[in-house]
Amino acid sequence: MAYLRLSQIPPTEEALVEARHMLGLDRSFPVQYFTWLGKALRLDFGRSYVTGKPVLDEILYYLPATLLLTGVSLLLTLVVSVPLGVLAALYKDRIPDQLTRAFAFFGVSIPSFWLGFLLVYLFSVRLGWLPALGRGGAAHMILPAITLSLMSISINIRFFRASVLENLHHRFVLYARARGVPERRVVGRHIFRNSLIPIVTAVGMHLGELFGGSVVVENVFAWPGVGRYAVTSIFNRDYPVLQCFLLLMTGIFVLCNLGVDVLYAWLDPRIRFGGEEQP
C-alpha cells in the first residue's frame, strides 16, 4: 500500500482490502495493540510498510549516527557550560558574567534549524571550510554538534551559575576558608562538588531534549540518524517504524532518569544512606 502511495498509482478497492488484511489493519484496535505488544516483548517490531525489512534492523542501522551526534553534543555541552557557569558565578555581575549571560541568552533564543543553516552558509557556502551535509569524518560532525548543543549549553550555563551561587555562601565554605583551605580547593571540593547535584538533574532531563532536538538537526544536515528516519516514516504512515522509534526514545529517556538517580547516590552520601538532610 505504501509502495502504491509512493509510486503515485491509485490502488484498486481489492488491493486495499487485501493489503489491510495482510497487515492486520482490519482488526480492532485492542487486538492490534496486544498483537504488537506481544511481539514487541520478543523484540519483533514487525516489518516496515515501505521497505518490507524488519523494523528493528532498520532502526539499529540508523541508531549509531544519532547516538554519536547526541553523545558528542552532550560532551560539548558539559565541556563548555560547566567552566562558563562556574566562571559566571565566581565573577558575578562583572564582565565574564555579563558576557556569559549574553551568550546564554542568545543561545536560548535562536532557532536551531536557522542556526544550522547560518553555519552551513558561513562555513560551507562562503568559506568552504567544512562539509555542509551528510556523515563522514570528524569534519562532518562539527556543525551539527554545535547546532544541537547550543541550546543545552545556554540552559546549563544558567543552571550551573545559579547552583554555584547558591553554594557560594554556605557556612561550610566560610568554615573551609576560615581554617585556611587554599582557594582552589575551596572552589573545587566544597563549592563545585555540591553544585554538581542540580546539574546532574538538569543534564539528565536535557538528554531527552537533545534526542528531540536531534530530530530537527538531523533533518537540517541530512544526517542519517533515527530522527530523520522517523520523520520520513511519519510522512509515509509507516506505523511499525514509528512505534519502534517512540519505544526506543522512551526507553532511552527512562534509562537517563535512572542514571541520574544512581549518580545522585554516588555524589551525595546523604541520599545513599537514606539519612535525613542536615539543616
Partner: protein
Amino acid sequence: MTLLRTLLSGRTTRLAFVAACAVLLVALFAPLLSSWDPDDIDLSQKLQAPSREHLLGTDHLGRDVLARLLHGARASLGSVAVIVAAILLLSLSVGSVAGYAGGMVDAFLMRLCDTFLTFPTFILAMFLIGILGAGMTNVILAIVCTHWAWYARIIRGLVLSLKTREHVLAARVAGTGQFRLVMRHILPGVLPQILVLATLDIGHMMLHVSGLSFLGLGVQPPTAEWGVMINDARQYIWTQPQLLFYPGLAIFVTVMAFNLLGDGLRDALDPVGETGGWGK
C-alpha cells in the same frame, strides 16, 4: 501601573517590550501593512531581488517575501496564544482544585501531573502527529499536554500557601462560598506569578511550533509561517540565502523579545530572587 513602571525602567526590557508590541501589532494588522497577498503565486516573478514593488524580493513561487513574513507573525503568535490560554485554563482548574481540596483528590491529580511530566515535548509531538496526522492542531495539543502539568504543580503549591493566609480565613469565617473563595481571594494571588511563567515560556513554545513546522509536521504549506518559509527556502541556500535569513531572523527577534520581557517581568515582581535569573 507601578509594576509597568518598574518593568520599563530597564533599558533592555523597554526595548523588548517595544519589540513584542510591534510583533503583536504586525500580527493584528498584517493585511494592512502589505498590499501583496502572501499566498499569491506568480511564477513569472519568482526569486526576484528586492525592488520597490517587492521590498524583500520574492520566493521560489513568486510570492512576496515581506507579505509572508508579516503574515507569519499571525501563525506564530496565534498558535502561542491558543497554547497559553489552554494551558492556563487547564492548569488553573487542576492546580487550584488539587491545592484547595487536598487529600485524595490532590494525590490523584498530582500523580496525573507526574505522568504528563515524563514526556519530552518533541517526542510526544511526534507521537501525536504520527497517529493523528500533521497539522497545527496536533502541535498545539502536544505542547499543551507536555506543559500544563508544570503549571498545575506550581499553582497547587501557591494555592496551598495562600489557603491559610488570614484574608482567606477571614473570608471563610464570613461565610464566603468555596467557589467564590477560590476565585476572589486565592486566584488573584496566583495569577501574576503564573503570567510571568507563561511569558518566560512563550519564546520556547514558539521555537517548538516553528521547529515542527520546519519539519513539515506543524503548520502546512502554503500557509505563511516562519518555519515553513525556512523549509521552502532550504534548497536555495547556494543562490538565494536571503530567503533563509529573513524568516529565521523574525523568529530569533520575536523569541528574544519575549524571553527578555519575561525576565523583566520576573525581576519587577520578585526583585530579590536573583540567583536564578539572567539579571538585568
